[in-house]
C-alpha cells in the first residue's frame, strides 16, 4: 500500500534529535505568572478576580465571554498582583492577569471521579468547555465547539493529530512515549460523543516508537486504529491530515466536520481527558525548549503563565548567544524579540537558534522555477499570489485562491531566490479577512 500522505510539502532539517530522548520534567515557576485573557480564537475572557485577591491553583480567574471563547484558570496559588496589558508572542499588548506565586501550590477541589460511561454527551462537552480546553497545537480554537458539530451522527472519524511535523518539536512525541494511555483515553472520551465514529491516531513514520506504544494499547480496540503517515511537512496541517488519513478534501471555507471528521492534537486530547475524567481545567502543557543555542534541550511540563526566561534557565541557559528565538516551531512559530513573555495554552516550543536564515539570505528576483508551486499543499501558485499581494491587487489575489493558503511556510522555505512569499500572502490574507468582516 502506498504510504499515507498528501500532495506537495517539503523536507526541512528536523532537529528532533536534540530533545527527543529527554523525558518530560516538570518546571515549577519561580517568578510571577502572567495570564493573557486572550489565549484562544474568539472573544477575550473576562477577569473575575481583582488586584489583591488570593487565588488557588485550579481556580477560575477569567470567564468565557460569549460563545466562541474560553475561560482561564490559575496554575499556581498566590495573590493577584495586577491586571494590566502585557506583551505576548505575537507582539501585541493583551490585558493580562498577573499572579504572584506563593510557592505552596494549594489546589481547589476538582469535581472528579465518575466513569466515562456515566457521563452524558452534554456533560462531556460542558466539562471540556468549562475546563478552558483549546486547540493546543497552535490555533487555540475552543475545543468544545469542535466537539459539538451540528450533526454528531455524521462524524465518521475522530482523528488525533500525532503528526508533529514541525521540525525540532518533540513535546507530542514525549507524551506519546511516556503517557500513551492518556492520549488513547482522551480519544475514547471524544468517541463517546459520536456514535458512528472511528478513532484514528495519525503519527508520522519518523516516530516508530510512538507508533509501537500506541498500537500496543489499542490492539484490542476495534474502534481505534494507529495510522503511520509519510514524514513530510506539513503533514500535521488539519486539511492535509484529513486527506492523508481518510482521502477526504476540505477547502478553507469548510470545517473538518463537513468531511465527517473531528481533529485534535495530542496535548488537546490529553487535556480533554483531564477535563472530563478528573475535572481538571487546562493549567499545564508540554513545551519543548530546544535549538542549537540552548545548553541542554529539554521537554518540560510547564505551568501556563510561566515566563519564557525561566524555561531557558531550566534548560541550562544559552551555550551560545542566540540570534533568533522562536515561540513554536521554525515553520509556523512566531519570532520573538526577547524572553519576557508568558507561556500560553498554545505555546508548543521555545526554539533558540544561533543563526537566522531569514536575515542572512537576501531576496533576489523570482526566476519562476516553480518550486513553490510543487511544494504548496494547498495547490495554489504562491509566486503569483505574492506578486498580487505586493501589488495590492485584492481581486486577483482572491480570484486565484489566495484565501486557500494555510500559511504553512513551504513556499518561503523552498524558494531559491529567498523571497518572503508566505509573509506577503499572509499579510494580504489578513487585509482581505479584515475587509470581509466589515
Amino acid at each position: 500500500m502506498a504510504r499515507l500522505t498528501f500532495k506537495g510539502g517539503i523536507h526541512p532539517y528536523d532537529g528532533k534529535a536534540l530533545s527527543k530522548d529527554k523525558p518530560i520534567r516538570e518546571v515549577l515557576p519561580k517568578g510571577d505568572l502572567v495570564y493573557p485573557v486572550s489565549q484562544h480564537i474568539g472573544a477575550p475572557a473576562t477577569p473575575v478576580v481583582a488586584k489583591g485577591d488570593r487565588v488557588l491553583r485550579g481556580q477560575l480567574i477569567a470567564e468565557a465571554t460569549g460563545f466562541v471563547s474560553a475561560p482561564i484558570y490559575s496554575s499556581v496559588s498566590g495573590t493577584v498582583k495586577c491586571i494590566e496589558p502585557r506583551r505576548v508572542v505575537t507582539g501585541d499588548l493583551i490585558n493580562s492577569i498577573v499572579i504572584e506565586n506563593d510557592g505552596l501550590y494549594e489546589e481547589v477541589e476538582y469535581e472528579a471521579g465518575r466513569e466515562l460511561e456515566e457521563y452524558s454527551k452534554e456533560e462531556i462537552i460542558e466539562r471540556v468547555k468549562k475546563a478552558g480546553v483549546v486547540g493546543m497545537g497552535g490555533a487555540g480554537f475552543p475545543t468544545f465547539i469542535k466537539l459539538s458539530p451540528k450533526d454528531p451522527d455524521a462524524i465518521d472519524y475522530c482523528i488525533v493529530n500525532c503528526a508533529e511535523c514541525e521540525p525540532y518539536l518533540t513535546s507530542d512525541y514525549r507524551r506519546m512515549i511516556e503517557e500513551p494511555e492518556k492520549v488513547v483515553e482522551g480519544l475514547r472520551v471524544m468517541l463517546r460523543l459520536f456514535d458512528n465514529a472511528h478513532g484514528i491516531l495519525a503519527v508520522e513514520d519518523n516516530k516508530p516508537e510512538a507508533i509501537r506504544r500506541l498500537k500496543e494499547i489499542v490492539k484490542a480496540d476495534p474502534l481505534i486504529s494507529v495510522k503511520a503517515l509519510k514524514t513530510k511537512y506539513p503533514q500535521g496541517a488539519e486539511r492535509q491530515l484529513i486527506y492523508a488519513t481518510t482521502g477526504r478534501s476540505i477547502n478553507s471555507k469548510m470545517l473538518p466536520a463537513d468531511a465527517g471528521c473531528v481533529v485534535d492534537n495530542v496535548d488537546t486530547v490529553v487535556a480533554i481527558r483531564a477535563a472530563v475524567l478528573e475535572g481538571k481545567p487546562l493549567m499545564e502543557r508540554i513545551v519543548t525548549v530546544t535549538g542549537d543555542a540552548v545548553a541542554d534541550p529539554r521537554n518540560f511540563k510547564v505551568h501556563i503563565g510561566t515566563n519564557y526566561s525561566e524555561l531557558i534557565e531550566e534548560a541550562g541557559g544559552f551555550k551560545t548567544e542566540p540570534v533568533k528565538i522562536v515561540s513554536g516551531g521554525p515553520m509556523m512559530g512566531f519570532g520573538i524579540f526577547d524572553l519576557d513573555l508568558p507561556t500560553t495554552k498554545t505555546a508548543s516550543a521555545l526554539l533558540a537558534l544561533t543563526k537566522d536564515d531569514v536575515s542572512e539570505m537576501e531576496p533576489t528576483a523570482c526566476i519562476n522555477c516553480g518550486r513553490c508551486v510543487e511544494a504548496c499543499p494547498g495547490n495554489v501558485v504562491p509566486k503569483l499570489l505574492a506578486e498580487y499581494a505586493e501589488n495590492g491587487d485584492e481581486e486577483a489575489f482572491i480570484k486565484n485562491n489566495g484565501m486557500e493558503c494555510c500559511e504553512c511556510g513551504c513556499c518561503s522555505f523552498i524558494c531559491p531566490a529567498k523571497r518572503p512569499l508566505t509573509q506577503a500572502i499572509k499579510s494580504m490574507r489578513k487585509i482581505c479577512l479584515a475587509k470581509k468582516k466589515k
Partner: protein, 310 residues
C-alpha cells in the same frame, strides 16, 4: 540580553539558491561543451568563452549604468552565454558571439527588467536574431572536420544519414548540439538534482514523434524518427532551453501543454518549413504563449468544490 531578530514565519530556509541552480546548469552543459571542443577543435572553446564573457560583461555594465544592484553573481548570464555559444557554428567569425551575447542580455533580458522578467529565452532570442541577420554565417556548418550539409538537411532531402554518428555526435552542426549522448548525460545531471523534470522534455519529444509519424511522410519508421530526434537542436532545446524556468509556464498542467505545443511547432517547422531546423523558433514562439497557457491552466485549490454542511 540583546534584542533578537524578528521576522515572519518560516524561520528556516532551504540551502538551494538561484546561483546554485545556475551552477548546476553550467555543469550539466559541460559534457556537450567538451564534446564540441573534441569534435570541432579549439575554436569551439574560444567561441563559447567569448560569448559567455560578452553576456556577463553586458549585464555588468548595464547594471552599472542604471545603478542597479549587481546581479552577475547569480550566474544566469553565464548560462545564457554558454547556451548561445553552444548554438553557434564553429566556422563563424569571432565577433558573432559578442554581438549575440550583447543582444541576448541587453535587448531580450535587461531591457525587460532583468532575470525573471524576460518573456523570451535570451539565448534563443539572440540566436534567431543572428540567424535572420547573418544567415550565411549562421547556417554554414562547413569547418575543418566536416563539410557539406548537416544530417538534418540530408534527411530533409530524403538522403541517407548515419544514426550512430548522430547519436555520438560525429557530425556537422552547431558546437553543442551534435552529440545526443553528451546532452543526455547533462540532462541526467539536471534530472537527478531536481533542477528540471521530464514534464516539458517528455511531452515535447513524445508529441514531436507523434507529429513526425503522422506527417513526416515515412509513417512509423524507427530509423527516420531516431534521425529526427538526434538531429539539429532538438535534444539541446528540449532539455536545456524549453525547460528555462523564466520562459516556461509555472503551472504543472501548463508545462504539458507547453511541451505539446513545442512538439507540434517543431514538427511543422521542420517538415513543412523551408529550413531543416525548427527548434529555436518553436521555443521562442511558445515562450510568447506562456502567459495565456498559465491563465488557462491555473490549478484548482486543495479541496475546491467541496460542499459545506448547512
Amino acid at each position: 540580553m540583546s534584542m533578537m531578530k524578528v521576522s515572519s514565519n518560516p524561520h528556516v530556509r532551504s540551502k538551494e539558491s538561484t546561483s546554485s541552480i545556475m551552477l548546476l546548469v553550467v555543469v550539466a552543459l559541460l559534457p556537450a561543451f567538451g564534446f564540441g571542443i573534441y569534435n570541432f577543435g579549439i575554436m569551439a572553446a574560444v567561441h563559447v568563452l567569448i560569448t559567455i564573457a560578452a553576456c556577463v560583461l553586458t549585464e555588468f555594465v548595464f547594471n552599472l549604468i542604471i545603478k542597479k544592484k549587481q546581479t552577475v553573481s547569480d550566474l544566469s548570464a553565464v548560462v545564457t552565454g554558454m547556451l548561445l555559444g553552444l548554438n553557434l557554428p564553429v566556422g563563424a567569425p569571432w565577433w558573432i558571439g559578442i554581438l549575440g551575447g550583447f543582444f541576448a542580455i541587453l535587448v531580450v533580458k535587461c531591457l525587460f527588467g532583468g532575470l525573471g522578467e524576460n518573456f523570451m529565452n535570451p539565448a534563443l532570442g539572440a540566436r534567431c536574431f543572428l540567424v535572420i541577420s547573418f544567415p550565411a554565417i549562421m547556417t554554414n556548418f562547413n569547418c575543418d572536420a566536416y563539410s557539406g550539409a548537416t544530417p538534418l538537411a540530408l534527411l530533409k532531402n530524403g538522403q541517407e544519414v548515419n544514426i550512430l554518428d548522430m547519436v555520438i555526435g560525429r557530425t556537422g552542426g552547431t558546437i553543442g548540439e551534435t552529440s545526443v549522448i553528451a546532452i543526455v548525460i547533462g540532462a541526467c545531471i539536471l534530472l537527478a538534482t531536481g533542477v528540471i523534470d521530464l514534464r516539458i522534455p517528455g511531452s515535447y519529444i513524445v508529441s514531436f514523434v507523434i507529429f513526425v509519424v503522422i506527417f513526416g511522410g515515412y509513417g512509423f519508421n524507427p530509423a527516420y524518427i531516431a534521425a529526427q530526434l538526434s538531429g539539429g537542436g532538438l535534444m539541446l532545446g528540449a532539455f536545456f532551453m524549453a525547460t528555462d524556468y523564466v520562459t516556461r509556464p509555472v503551472t504543472v498542467k501548463g508545462q504539458y501543454v507547453y511541451g505539446i505545443i513545442l512538439g507540434v511547432l517543431t514538427g511543422i517547422f521542420r517538415i513543412f518549413g523551408p529550413s531543416a531546423e525548427g527548434v529555436s523558433y518553436a521555443i521562442i514562439l511558445s515562450n510568447l504563449l506562456v502567459p495565456l497557457i498559465e491563465k488557462w491552466t491555473m490549478p484548482k485549490a486543495f479541496g475546491a468544490g467541496g460542499k459545506k454542511h448547512e
